[in-house]
């Protein structure tokens, strides 16, 4: 498909070329010279559209064009689907980059007169934007970006995709473990997993007396740095505020029972 911006007054136009299936194209020229024609391309479909919008906005704000945006052929929405992945990848990611374009769209004065095509593109972007706002952060699928060694990524906690990773230590055990809280649907599952992992029994939870029946008590450090007994707060709240887990042993464990 082609996109063409024409500036009737100055006689210049900007073509946007999109290969039919999406793919790699290059950017050649940003601002059309007066009276000239130039084409620009971008690294991929999504970037093309971002650049396209950017150019329109810049040109219009610089007074270089009255501009109408005309799409020469049928608007293939699938082709304009904004994806910032390598061609062929299906991941729908990084919508926030698109929201950038939309934000700028809103701020800048526009002089485009043609309603149809621009509004189609804007509408689709707006939809994307809404979508971006509604959806939580989507994990990046770009290989090797940002350029941090996986060694460093693994060593530092948090942020591995969608998981909520917390460290688990047990008194007397030499090493820490890491678990993903998202994997568990509730406390029973979590406790079961801990029992299996550390080969111990944790016992029954009761609000008043904490964990009965064993010398271990699972505790966690919350966002305020306080140590709480696992199970005191609703599971969802626990998931968001738990920073790390510690399985306490012995007298200290028993001391936590009384609603502290």
């Amino acid at each position: 498909m082609n996109g063409v911006i024409t500036n009737p007054e100055k006689g210049s136009s900007v073509h946007m070329l999109l290969p039919p299936k999406g793919g790699w194209v290059g950017v050649s020229h940003v601002c059309p010279p007066t009276g000239g024609t130039c084409s620009f391309k971008a690294a991929n479909t999504a970037t093309t559209i971002l650049k396209f919008i950017d150019i329109i906005l810049r040109l219009s704000s610089q007074g270089k064009m009255e501009s109408r945006v005309v799409f020469e052929t049928h608007l293939n929405l699938k082709a304009t689907e904004l994806r910032l992945g390598l061609p062929g990848t299906q991941e729908n990611e990084d919508k926030t980059a698109h929201s950038y374009a939309v934000v700028r769209n809103n701020k800048r004065p526009e002089r485009e007169t043609s309603e149809d095509s621009v509004s189609i593109s804007k509408a689709s972007l707006d939809q994307q934007h809404v979508h971006a706002v509604a959806a939580p952060q989507l994990k990046a699928e770009i290989v090797g970006w940002p350029p941090i060694r996986s060694y460093r990524k693994n060593s530092v906690q948090e942020g591995e995709g969608d998981g909520i990773y917390v460290k688990v230590s047990m008194d007397g055990a030499p090493y820490l473990r890491k678990i993903d809280l998202k994997v568990y649907r509730g406390y029973p599952e979590l406790l079961k997993a801990l029992e299996t992992m550390f080969k111990l029994t944790i016992g029954e939870y009761s609000e008043r007396e904490g964990y009965k029946g064993s010398e271990y008590a699972p505790t966690y450090e919350d966002k305020d740095g306080d140590w709480m007994l696992v199970g005191d707060v609703p599971w969802d709240m626990f998931m968001t505020c738990c920073k790390r887990l510690r399985i306490m042993k012995g007298s200290e464990a028993r001391g936590l029972g009384c609603g502290v």
Partner: protein, 665 residues
Amino acid sequence: MENPNAKAQRHRQLRSNNIDPIKQMRENHPSTNSEDDQRSSLLDLARAEITESSNSKTRTYGGFPDPGSGSGPSEPQAPFPDQVLENVLENVLHFLSSRRDRNAASLVCRSWYRAEALTRSELFIGNCYALSPTRATTRFTRIKSVTVKGKPRFADFDLMPPDWGAHFTPWASALAQAYPWLEKLHLKRMIVTDADLTLLADSFPDFRELVLVCCDGFGTPGLGAVAAKCRYRSHLYSSNKLLLLRVLELVESVVEAVGDEEVDWISCFPDSQTNMESLVFDCIECPINFEALDSLVARSPRLKKLRLNQFVSMAQLHRLLLRAPQLTHLGTGSFSANDPGGVGELVQDYTTAFEACRSLVCLSGFREIWADYLPTIYPVCANLTSLNLSYADVNAHQLKPVIRHCHKLQIFWVLDSICDEGLQAVAATCKDLRELRVFPVDAREGTEGPVSEVGFEAISQGCRKLESILYFCQRMTNAAVVAMSKNCPDLVVFRLCIIGRYRPDPVTQEPMDEGFGAIVMNCKKLTRLAVSGLLTDRAFEYIGRYGKLVRTLSVAFAGDTDMGLKYVLEGCPNLQKLEIRDSPFGDGALRSGLHHYYNMRFLWMSTCKLTRQACQEVAQALPNLVLEVINNSEENAGDDIEVLYMYRSLDGPRDDAPIFVNILH
């Protein structure tokens, strides 16, 4: 183990038996690949061509008389009575330590070439595939220290399949044969096997220093071999057996526990006193035998550098500190407790232990940091020149009491969890700061980052002596970057990574061209640059125009047209390493660098706009260039290339390339 006399004798013998220099020249011995070679390598290549192509006797090249031993009958004997001069030359050249100087000296004439080759003791190979090991060992016969680098840096970010290459094994055997007196070995981004390490341990009786940076392929068995065998030089008149090994450093290398094959390598060190000065193993992902370590530290009076892995707890660290208060560099291991209770009392003990370490200047580790323990390091802060908190999720509140004392700090690595506020605290105290690295806790795009142009600008205001910066952020303005370019004119390394791709200046909506332009314009000493954010060709125009000293350039998701890359290739005469990903540079740009590629260590271009045909043309135009085309995906993209990795080579394409690597020639 041979006695010193035998060794000296062997040295003398080698020298007199030295291969005829003229023959050597004829047999095409261009210089080995060293860093920052500039013109020297090109000239050497040219000379090699000349000597190779002329099949008859080459009279003296450049008109200088040829010294020393006779040669084939076709060679006219140039009388050279001045053996004294040759000796003087060698003695003088001994003082040259810089690679660059030596490379230059070797080009003066043939006698200098030969003398330099005889007196070089440190061999640096910047790209293991730039030449064969034999070529290196034939030219340089008296090497005591070897550095070899393998994979290009982008391999760290999974942009290259893991079995691409950079195997140390062929080098190991060549070195074992050629330099039995080898003392030091530094490897970076190479694949080193346990067998290689065992060969090292067996082959080099004088071995004293092993440093492996970003290497993999080995495990604890190899380490055990090194610990066990790099030793036992029996003193002539006593039965004392000394461990000669002084330095064993594993830096960011992958050493994982592999099931049953795990070896308690710490216990492999001999029981006697050791000469160990540096033991660095913070990257080892398996537990170690603490008792053995404790005992090793106790019998290593010269130990200055000790970096522990995360399987060493605070309590254990405490014990080690009591053993070795003379340490200058310490990696603290986990810096957290596994045992319950009594945290308050122990903090005092730990603080006392740190207090006793009066020589401590470099602290790192903090792998599982227990923030309560941070106060224990207060006593050493005032002396610290280097502090690495980049594995510690520490907030501004926790950082401030520490950093407040660090007046002498020159190197600071940290996570962005300290926020702009933490950076402001750093800027307020660390007036001597030279190197800053800020890593992201959450590396995903589109998140709200804790550091921004605010912290960045604070640093530029407060740390005027800054020379090197690596800064990850989600948000940066041109103004802040321009400010840093003016406040910190001593910048040599500037690496800014705005995590969200194609991000413009959030305030002006402009591309980041002007910021990076100011950096290359104002920082006249800049040699390394990494760019990010929304960038047009203009940024590259600036780099090409002002970045005359730039040697390393990293580009990702930037630029508009071929012009961008052209500006750089045509404008930056010192460019050595160019790594580009996901940028719209194509064949025209590639062709514009033909005049320069022989001067470069390598060119990396992935997911750009190159076609196979253009690469083929380059391969044909420059015969000593190796062009590796790597396709990561299953389907062949046809004419389009995914990855081009290109480098000069004196011995043609390598023979260990895996299937997915296509070498064009």
